[in-house]
Assembly symmetry: C2
Homo-oligomer: 461 residues x 2
């Protein structure tokens, strides 16, 4: 623990839950979380630490103490590592149409509209606001091809105080991209990506690096080799984050095998696109060699359990990946996933893992039905959505401990529309956390904090 | 349409969504829903019906017109056909422990406490209130073995105005039930059940039959043959509803096969327990002959997709069952399911069906992975949760049309904590409904109506 507390710090007295490891729930009861003026956690002082009373008094006298009321708890902010920002208007829509229609008739025409900065603002402003209201303190966003729209998204993150990783999407392969929505050439896409990296670096107010740029080839099928190689070189040269999709579905996996003569992961690696700051979405069909390669490079998977059901023909085996040192994070995959809530993503990660473990078809004999040791529990899910995501993004977020940024949420179990039913006589703190993970909604997110700043507070009736 | 409208009727001007058939969404735009003083829908008058303006005027002048604001929609009330009322305090808890521990260390000790009427009231009062707040207008409840607790549950339904089907649980098989929570004998359980049927019939205020009794053998493994036969005779004699569990898991299915020499469904039929008013929960492992038998008897299945993931070793094939004329309804299965929201149940029904359709294990070849034609969509899910449930219960509820009870909810897409994002320029009414089904939470349930009475109104900030 850092023993030097800055004079300008403030403190929150609370019970904090986090999951620093995949199978380890940490309950810090009635602690003082001391936060620096720049938003870093300086110390978490335990109730039985001799400094607790003095530090509480010091902050109280200075008017720098916040106490959470009974029934409210501090959790790390949710880290959503896969969001298609321009798809926000169609969230929860057109999930009943074939994939080709979903893409060509709905998604691409919608994404093509973000050259219009006013339209972009009309979408991205409520998007960021509503993700913050749901407790998402960090989002890794796919933007679009448009400089103007992507800049609006980055500005909205800054303006509203969300930690945002924003990607300028690149896609130039004529056979896969519609004429109204593709890059004019590989070089144009590379130049556009490089320009966007510059744009983000120079955004007024972004000296602290709250918003980061991301190199974003949509996925191998929609990019030419020239584009992929150019973006890989840019990633190696600049060290900025990379995001793409990888082996999501039978079709995508097979398409890349045929085109590249190797798997998605190995092809991405060949192009220089697997780095310590790479997040590939889905990755359901990784081979054992792919998993080993990704673990060696330090690249991570954005597990998107909800959209797996709709688009991935299978469930990503998260527990097995973790056992093989694969980096992981959790994604809503808006709008391939219909929900903006990372609590929903946690719950879907659990149910999907149970489906994988038990199998689904009652007409098969039990021994042929499932794939055992695939289950994850609510603690693993919380870890995925917080500490794992922080590690995947190579950022000091996702845990409530000294040295981390104070990116956190206050969950109010007694909110007016709460479905979390706590029975004080019989629920342990661990039970309370389990009930939170299983039933928290946006209505329970009383406060959202990013880098020490209060960026959302729920209206109270 | 009923052309005689009673003078004491009132009317709601609204756009109503319902799903009278499994694959048929009905949008009734800007209609007048005319409701009798006794809570029955007398007419749904279309906007282009010549009577619309006159009826609107008549009700407005009489102060008997309610207009839903823009962004609010009328849906049938949610019908939850499988709720374990006494398990409410452990909802969202202990889902990470083995089934034996869940039952013996958590569930049975909790259920054993409901001989204490004060404890029962401390649970059942918030249970009914919170289900109403989530939009559940009708619930089919498993109670406990206790006359006192079950009476409290029935009284709470009446007091708060929820349509409740309440079952006195019967379980007397010593090898399966703990000594502290089982019926003393088959006859004692039969007598207790008969007495509870009388109790409900005589409850003050229940002349309209808002609360109905249910014959409730827990499931075959926990009941002796004598008990099952006695309850079957009671069902045949009285015609009251029946509920139980059926072929939920590999273990349960196999256990009954070995004990009875036949499947669960056939054994229940032999005991006289499959009637037009029977709802069996889960039924994942029905054989084709079981499905045919159930369709012939008119008995229905409570599909509980969420608890399927945790306890049923598989996904119930809802679409196939429907194609074979099997009656269906949707259940939360609190607390085997962690969520009290039937919107969650709708969503889990959809994702479970996709998992069944596509399969889950990416290491299997696509052809061996899934079971095709298993998918349901959001309209099927809405139908399951409303019209199908009404048919399963043999009650005139679940649709917005003349002759049905006015059991309905108002969904406010613009509620403060809403995750439903409507884009007026591009979302059709059918899109709006899809977005409601995919993202509605309790926060969107502005009003809940049962039999024409407003039984819940959301507090506004």
């Amino acid at each position: 623990m850092n023993s030097t507390l800055s004079p300008s710090s403030w403190a929150m007295q609370c019970t904090a839950f986090d999951a620093p490891q995949a199978d380890a729930l940490r309950v810090q009861s009635d602690v003082l979380v001391v936060v620096s003026a720049r938003g870093r956690i300086e110390a978490v002082i335990a109730r039985d630490d001799p400094r607790w009373a003095a530090q509480r008094e010091r902050h109280a006298v200075a008017g720098q103490l916040r106490e959470l009321p009974a029934g409210s708890y501090l959790l790390p902010g949710m880290i959503d590592v896969h969001v298609h920002a321009p798809q926000w208007p169609q969230m929860g829509k057109a999930l009943d149409v074939p994939l080709a229609d979903w893409l060509q008739q709905n998604t691409f025409p919608l994404e093509a509209r973000y050259g219009d900065a006013a339209f972009a603002e009309s979408v991205y402003r409520p998007l960021v606001r509503q993700l913050l209201a749901n407790g998402t303190t960090t989002a890794m966003y796919f933007g679009t091809l448009h400089d103007s729209g992507n800049r609006v998204l980055a500005e909205e993150c800054l303006r509203q105080g969300q930690r945002g990783l924003v990607g300028r999407v690149a896609m130039d392969e004529p056979s896969q991209c519609p004429p109204f929505y593709r890059d004019a050439s590989a070089q144009a896409a590379i130049d556009g990506t490089e320009a966007f990296i510059e744009t983000v670096a120079r955004l007024p107010g972004n000296a602290g690096g709250l918003v980061l740029p991301v190199i974003t080839p949509r996925f191998i099928p929609s990019c030419t080799d020239e584009l992929l190689a150019g973006l890989g070189a840019l990633a190696q040269r600049t060290g900025v984050h990379v995001q793409t999709h990888c082996s999501e579905s039978d079709w995508a996996h097979q398409h890349v095998l045929e085109r590249c003569g190797m798997t998605d992961a190995h092809a991405l690696h060949r192009f220089g696109l697997l780095t310590r700051r790479t997040v590939v979405a889905h990755a359901n069909f990784l081979t054992p060699a792919d998993v080993a390669l990704m673990a060696d490079t330090g690249a991570s998977v954005a597990h998107c359990p909800l959209s797996n059901f709709y688009f991935a023909n299978s469930v990503f085996p998260a527990r097995a990946g973790h056992a093989q040192r694969l980096g992981l994070g959790l994604g809503s995959d808006i709008s391939g996933g219909y929900s903006p809530s990372m609590f929903d993503a946690c719950r879907h990660a659990i149910t999907a893992s149970y489906a994988l473990d038990e199998g689904v078809d009652p007409d098969l004999p039990p021994a042929q039905r499932g794939r055992h040791n695939a289950r994850i529990d609510h603690v693993f899910a919380l870890w995925l959505a917080t500490a794992a995501g922080g590690a995947a993004l190579d950022l000091p977020i996702g845990r409530i401990e000294a040295g981390q940024q104070f990116d956190a949420i206050v969950v109010d179990c007694e909110a007016p529309d709460s479905n979390i039913c706590i029975w004080p006589g019989s629920d342990s703190p661990a039970d309370v956390l389990q009930k939170i993970i299983y039933n928290a909604t946006r209505a329970n997110v009383a406060q959202t904090w990013v880098q020490g700043a209060l960026v959302h507070a729920r209206a109270t009736p």
